[in-house]
């Protein structure tokens, strides 16, 4: 009786796993299809990747995505680390309020955040473009970076800092030579998470980019909503997917190395 139950449970779980993976695997497989029609398999080919990499607008979108994400990641990492210190090591009036304010950007529906930023830019007369996109990404990426960095800082053994100080190192020196090297994997993991949320973002980017600026998600969305599915879009989606997964693997390694 129990055995049958376990078998049913295993079979059920296998089906759910299949549900999670089959669409992604099919998307990747058919990016290598030689045929113009997406789902009619005509043999293995790299031709959609070749045409993708020959398309200068794809490179521009790729370049835009990367530098916006890099800027977002850098700023979020620095501000996130500073704020994490405050939240972990100090107690002050209004801390609970600040704490919930810092989680707001994670909780609020992104579409409302996106349009509020658009209205803000319209109201203040800031012209839309690359910078307005980065500003918007940083506004929610700080919170994501903060969550990761904060978690690492909580488990920090402060006696090493005291040792450094009793040996004559000042605050700044202690921070850069003792504290930072120890929490660095957490800081970088937070920065990578900020990079990923920026790199993957569609909604906020779409609202704040203006007509002349395109990132990879904007391009994928434009192609998917205009012409539906195509092997070339599969190729672009696959490249984007591989980059996301690589970022995640590095992040996972980093957070493990510290624990």
């Amino acid at each position: 009786m129990k055995k049958i139950g376990n078998k049913i449970l295993a079979g059920y779980s296998l089906l759910v796993y299949a549900f999670l993976y089959v669409p992604i695997i099919i998307m990747v497989i058919f990016s290598f299809n030689d045929s113009r029609l997406l789902a009619v398999w005509r043999g293995f080919s790299f031709k959609w990747y070749e045409s993708l990499f020959a398309d200068p607008t794809v490179w521009v979108a790729f370049y835009n995505s990367i530098w916006v994400a890099a800027l977002t990641s850098g700023v979020s990492m620095i501000l996130g680390t500073m704020t994490a210190f405050v939240m972990v090591r100090y107690s002050f009036r209004g801390k609970a309020l600040l704490d919930s304010a810092l989680y707001f950007p994670v909780v609020i529906p992104e579409i409302t955040e996106a349009l509020s930023l658009l209205l803000f830019y319209v109201f203040t007369g800031i012209p839309l473009g690359a910078l307005t996109v980065a500003i918007g990404h940083i506004a929610f990426a700080i919170s994501f970076a903060l969550i990761v960095i904060r978690a690492r800082l909580v488990g920090f053994d402060r006696s090493v800092e005291e040792a450094a100080k009793s040996l004559g190192a000042n605050e700044l020196r202690t921070f850069f030579h003792v504290t930072l090297p120890i929490i660095l994997p957490g800081v970088i993991a937070g920065g990578l998470l900020a990079f990923t949320v920026s790199y993957d973002d569609f909604v906020k980017t779409a609202f704040t980019a203006g007509p002349g600026f395109q990132t990879l998600p904007l391009r994928i969305y434009a192609m998917a909503s205009r012409g539906g599915v195509s092997p070339q879009l599969n190729a672009l989606a696959t490249v984007t997917l591989v980059i996301s997964l690589m970022l995640a693997v590095v992040r996972l390694r980093l957070s493990k190395s510290q624990a």
Binding site: Y90, I111, S116, L119
Partner: protein, 284 residues
Amino acid sequence: MRKSLQNRAGLLASPTVIYLAIFFFAPFAIVLLYSFGMIDLLRQLRPVFTLEYYIEFFNSVVPGVFARSILMAFATTVACLALGYPMAYYIAVKSVRRKETLLLLVIIPFWVSFLLRTYALMTILDVNGVLNVTLSSLGLISKPLNLMYNPQAVLLGMIYNYLPFMILPLYASMEKLDKSLLEASGSLGAGPLRSFVHVTLPLTKSGIGAGSILVFVPSVGEFIIPQLLGGTESFMVGNLIWTLFLKARNLWFGSAVSIILIALVIFMVGIYMKRISKGEEMTI
């Protein structure tokens, strides 16, 4: 000493606080001003305070769209729970090494953006997609099925994207479950079903709560999935807001709709937080 510590905390936190005040909270204040008609066409503040956009809300079709979104989010949550609960249990009772692998397989889809995963579903459901081509080459259908641009496709897309958000907190609560309690109830004569209803289910309540809120709250305001997989009759609040702002350019009414959505989300999260602080622990 205490004063200098306070100052240092203020110094370290202020860049983030100022940044969020300008680029996160001030924009919401502007949405509020728009929703009360306090900003005019020329982007100037005007000494007006009107509730007409909120009144318009209740006289429009928008409450119906809200109801549809909530219904869709509810259906998504229930389906994710039904799919995720047995699977989380299956992972939780495995040996440590297999557990790690199985859990990683749940986390990997997390690393792929909603846009890409929704597109992956399109490659299957599209008129020229894998399912239609396969079925017609097998001679099972004579003309392609319309699998996209309907509420079912949106629901499928929502479940597909949100499922990992449900499984992880469920798993976390089951992991902590003391297996000896199940043995105890078994040895006292309870069958598997009875043990499940009276032991497992109550003890994993916190995971069910956390998973449900993680699925339900963001799915009410979901944009990408209904936009790509749905037709106009399956549009949700997020799509409506998008249309009001970027297509219709009705900033005032759009702002009122957004404020109502935000209020709804804060209300739901607030209820949940209150329940947690009353004694139920959070598992995420």
